[in-house]
Amino acid sequence: MSDADSSAPAVEVRGLVREFKGGIRAVDGLDLEVRPGEIYGFLGPNGAGKTTVVRILTTLLRPTAGSARVAGNDVVADADAVRRSIGVALQEAAIDPLMTGRELLRMQGALHGLRGPAARDRTVSLLERVGLTQAADRRVGGYSGGMRRRLDLALALVHRPHVLFLDEPTTGLDPTSRGALWREVRALNDEGTTVFLTTQYLEEAEQLADRVGIIAAGRLVAEGTPDALKARVGEPMLHVELAEAESAGRARAALAGLGSVEPADPAAPTRVVLRTAAGKGAIGPAIRALDEHGVVIESVEVETPTLDDVFAAVTGSQLEGAGSVEAPA
């Protein structure tokens, strides 16, 4: 049903530029590559250019300069082949509120060449998959936000796309609906669908994405796995709270072999901070070493860099609403 080249990158962007009236550059020389079968999290604040990139990749906008290929096909020269390969769920679930879920799925099927029993069966299975069987014949205007998003996802899946574009799929959803959508995205990815996910929620990127690209002012400012990105900012820190300030010297000596001990902070004489790539794995050895040196401890905490730290480090600013997404139930 699609024209996907399975050996090609799922998404390949080179020097992409998009200018709007007044010379505003929403996308300013973007390069990125998404591998087949991965979930790529495209992270950035409002106005960073995420949606413009998605609209170009889904053939809804033309680039001003540069090139973009999706499933091996150029988004301008082979736009129709791109459309056969992709599923799209845009930021504002653009669903006609006067139609029912079933009607919309049937219409979407017709747009992708499905008909007869195949169209009916696909509609039924997708409704079941996104948990909307009971609401299938109700007008979408009466759906909750979560139901609309699930329907939007089902609509994007009608033709079994190779690459699925989800533009801020969980914005405005409650934790339960968000969790349901995350599970569905993971399941789709397990089935082999490449997912290009834009989000302004750090936790969403951490939870779902194999790799994350951070965009700011239309440029890719960092890219990598969430762990690799966080490692770029710095190693995890072990905060050891001692029972007595007098034992700080012994504690520092005990921990020296496990990583880099931070200089003493006169404002916190009972605290010793150890930087170590081992992160949580260093807790056991640290406690044993302190015990061997006769150091009594009150508590041990591990502080791991977050994607927000990464964002702040690469852009010099905090992500709006960073990490404020409530964790799904």
């Binding site: 906008l61 082949a81 459309r83 504002e92 653009a94 006067l98 139609m99 017709a110 992708h112 609509l155």
Partner: protein, 260 residues
Amino acid sequence: MSAAREGRVVVALGRRALSVQFRRAQLLMPTFVLPLMLLAVIASGTSAAQDLRGFPDVSSYLAFLVPGTIIQGALLAGLTSGTALASDIEFGFFDRLLAAPVRRTSLVIGRQAGTLGLSVLQTTFFLAVAYVFGARYPGGVDAALAAIVLAAITAVGIGGVAAAIALRTGSLSLLQSIFPFVFVLLFTAPAFFPRELLTPVLRDAARFNPLTYVVEAVRGLLTADGSLGDPWAGLAAAVALALATTALATFALGRRLRAA
């Protein structure tokens, strides 16, 4: 993409356009109720017009007026179709269609298919209601069917203009503000009075209004009186309008996509 597949796309889009129309109360009012209200006002308030010298000898004044109502319906059907398209553009539904692997022209023709279906239902409804209230159609069922076809093609013609405006501007409010101009088009055609009784200025304007030929053709068909209108002239005007404006809408879509 095969022609058969594109045909199925057009049918799917037309079906959606039509079904949604019946779920929008604010669009049903102007397309089904308003023309009949105007017919009732004109039929009861201006019936003395048929006594004027030069007024054609018709068996039923109501039957004389019904073609005007039918053309008014076609105008409103076309315009509401454009309004619905502007709404799709403004609220993002049109993007969903653009992201699908279908010919861009099918998106325009699909919308036009919905307009055509709406007009067929409208005209049938108007003819039936007028019949109940005493209008008689000496042309018979064949004439009524021909009138339905003429009105539907005309609605497609008006729908093409409205679609072109919607695609060019993407503005729902602009489309809504155009509604009053329907009446300018309607009254610069001999919709409710014979062309001969219009003022010289209006009579000259009517010559350049394609709706003149359509409304006269419908009148000639329903009354079975060829002197009141030439069906072929009406068909030619309606088809020319539909082809020209559908091409205009397709051009507007192409321009919109190139500018995107």
